[in-house]
């Protein structure tokens, strides 16, 4: 990932980057097409089934936007931390903690009006995620533990801890199903479309992207946070307390990831099932990278990943191709963006060859 200049520099940096991202997507889809052809299916038919699945009807679009929501949150989480040069691999664990807090408030707090109940549940989700992310920040600033390592460990600790609760103390009905009770009606986010899973959580996600973009580019806090990410030594000499920003970046990052879990529970799942996230936190790393660690870029990257995932199910139904194919496409998109360094590499090789000759 690379630090880039802000929106002010649209034509100089952002547009070429968007172009490189689009090229990577195109190349990945092409390789995907070759795999589809090898499997004996017409790539055109497979891809049009995918498009149908993601955008073919009102319900498809609702489904697509529902899938986009948690990816925006986790993508924002990873992108924001990366602006402070922190790699938060732990969005998955923070998501689980956020989901847990949301379900606890949703189930066990009763008698509130909908407005207060929802606000309380959302606050709980983001605080729980922030605490779990902030813990990794604290371990870094006080014990010098690399956040990449600590967040991997914290992921699995959170996932198994939540699983323990769901199979034991908060199982409902106790002892049989691996699930919690349903959250109160008052804690459920309003639906945007009847009989679909789409809730107002998508607005919350987009709002957070705009807000974080504003914080990063238009506030002193964001400016200092980025300067700690770009040049920690310089930042320290200019009097910035780097530890404060490292911790803050991890806590805010965790809070965004916690909202991914919270919005899944409050928006449409309404109860917590064992292992309720299909890896949204890990996808967030790829989403943030594809979105070039820019909050607005993350929104578009999340849409692409969600469209691929939703479309894949339709593709599987119509063509019999395994939906796992889209994971390959997603991974290739990331790999092709990484390979944008290829041109520099070839140039350097040409130069060193020239020297030898």
């Amino acid at each position: 990932m690379k630090e880039t200049e802000g929106p002010g520099n649209l034509f100089a940096t952002l547009l070429p980057q968007a172009g490189a991202s689009l090229l990577a997507i195109f190349l990945a889809m092409t390789v995907g097409g070759v795999l589809i052809a090898i499997a004996g299916v017409n790539p055109y038919e497979a891809y049009s089934a995918m498009l149908q699945g993601a955008f073919g009807s009102q319900f498809a679009i609702a489904n697509f936007l529902t899938r986009t929501t948690p990816l925006i949150f986790t993508g924002l989480a990873v992108a924001f931390a990366f602006r402070c040069n922190l790699l938060n691999i732990g969005a998955e664990g923070q998501l689980y903690m956020g989901g847990l807090a949301a379900v606890l408030v949703g189930v066990y707090v009763t008698g509130l009006s909908a407005l207060f109940h929802i606000a309380l549940a959302i606050a709980a989700a983001s605080l729980a995620g922030a605490a779990w992310g902030g813990l990794a920040g604290l371990l870094k600033t006080t014990r010098g533990i690399n956040e990449i390592i600590s967040t991997i460990m914290l992921n699995f600790i959170a996932i198994f801890f939540v699983s323990f609760l769901i199979q034991g103390p908060i199982a409902e009905p106790p002892g049989f199903f691996h699930q919690t009770a349903l959250i109160e009606e008052t804690a459920r986010l309003p639906k945007l479309m009847p009989r679909s899973d789409l809730s107002v959580a998508i607005f919350l996600a987009v709002f957070l992207a705009v807000a974080l973009s504003f914080v990063l580019w238009r506030t002193p806090f964001g400016m200092k946070l980025r300067s700690v990410g770009l040049a920690p030594e310089t930042a320290r000499f200019s009097g910035i307390s780097t530890n404060k920003y490292l911790f803050g970046a991890m806590a805010i990052s965790g809070g965004a990831a916690g909202l991914a879990g919270g919005s899944e529970i409050l928006g449409h799942q309404y109860r917590m099932l064992d292992f309720f996230s299909p890896g949204y936190g890990f996808d967030g790393i790829a989403v943030a990278f594809l979105g070039r660690s820019d909050p607005i870029g993350v929104v578009f990257a999340a849409m692409l990943f969600a469209a691929l995932r939703v479309g894949a199910n339709q593709m599987q139904r119509e063509t019999g191709l395994p939906s796992s194919l889209v994971l390959v496409i997603q991974g290739l998109v990331v790999l092709f963006i990484l390979a944008a360094e290829l041109r520099r590499w070839l140039r350097e090789r040409a130069v060193s060859k020239g020297k030898e000759a």
């Binding site: 014990r143 390592i149 460990m153 198994f160 699983s163 790829a286 990484l338």
Partner: protein, 309 residues
């Protein structure tokens, strides 16, 4: 307490060692790779590819041994890609690993359905059987616990002193450590850090492939989607827990293997400890060690930083 004692027997020890083996393969690979200065989050994906290709190799070459070699080679091949991206192109090592894991999960699940067909994807392939040592295997308790395992188990544990010797007693080890600690000085005395890192990353993929092929050909006897189930990440924990030392890594894998065995058995006999805490143990222990020892104490200094001339 009685329940706990009832499961601590030769069978439990044997299971712990068996479950530690795939972790040990991947951990040794992780140690090599990280000591040379490259983080390999993609161990998980490389294990998965090794597991699948091992199954294919064993089926089409009709030999588990050849299948295992195919698994090892394919792991190495995936690692070559990781090396190219993060050593030659100097791109982000973590992001490359994440991409490799995504591609590995997708590609293996795609290929098993395409090659073996939807109906027959869990086809049992020629696999390894346990090899009881002639005399040692007859000793009561010790025989069934330690000397009635798959040949690959003995090989994995044999790799511990081998890699210890290479790392700490050979010139190669010196070059690897130099590349991971201070690549600039390494380059100034004629070591090519990029080349050293490439070799280590490829070897780590080979080890991870071995771990994956052990899972499929030694334990499951077929391929299942995402069958590695986080063992690549447990191996990453074992690398740190073992302080980047093969002997330490082995101890970590044995502890984590025992926790895994306890988890299976504890569930069966209704032991008091929830099995999730056993699953959590490798990560919690590693984090605890890090907190006590401090994060920077032993990690290679140049880890994660691309080398440029």
């Amino acid at each position: 307490m009685e329940a706990l004692l009832s499961i601590l027997n030769a069978e439990f020890l044997a299971a712990s060692i068996r479950l530690a083996t795939p972790l040990l393969f991947a951990t040794l690979g992780g140690i090599l790779c990280e000591r040379s200065g490259v983080i390999n989050i993609g161990l998980e994906g490389m294990m998965l590819v090794g597991a699948l290709m091992g199954v294919f190799g064993s089926w089409y070459l009709n030999s588990p041994t050849l299948g295992f070699l195919v698994g090892v080679l394919s792991g190495a091949l995936v690692a070559l890609l990781h090396g190219f991206v993060c050593i030659s192109l100097r791109s982000n090592q973590i992001v490359s690993g994440v991409a490799i894991n995504l591609i590995a999960i997708g590609l293996t699940s795609f290929l098993i359905r395409i090659v073996f067909g939807l109906a027959d994807q869990q086809r049992i392939v020629p696999h390894f059987n346990s090899y009881p040592f002639p005399v040692l295997g007859q000793i009561p308790f010790i025989g069934p616990a330690f000397f009635n395992q798959l040949t690959l188990v003995y090989i994995a544990f044999l790799m511990v002193p081998v890699s210890w010797f290479i790392l700490f007693k050979s010139r190669w080890g010196l070059a690897i450590t130099a590349a991971g600690e201070h690549p600039k000085s390494a380059a100034s005395v004629g070591i090519d850090p990029q080349f050293v890192r490439h070799v280590c990353v490829v070897l780590s993929g080979a080890f991870a492939g071995a771990g994956g092929a052990f899972l499929s050909l030694g334990q499951l006897h077929f391929f299942q989607d995402e069958m590695v189930a986080g063992r690549g990440f447990i191996a990453l924990a074992a690398v740190i827990f073992g302080r980047w030392n093969p002997v330490g890594g082995m101890i970590a894998c044995l502890i984590f293997g025992a926790a895994d065995a306890l988890q299976f058995r504890g569930q069966a006999v209704g032991m008091g400890i929830p099995h999730q805490f056993m699953l959590m143990l490798p990560y919690a222990l590693t984090l605890a060690i890090l907190i006590i020892a401090g994060g920077k104490s032993k990690a290679p200094a140049a880890i994660g930083i691309p080398f440029r001339r």
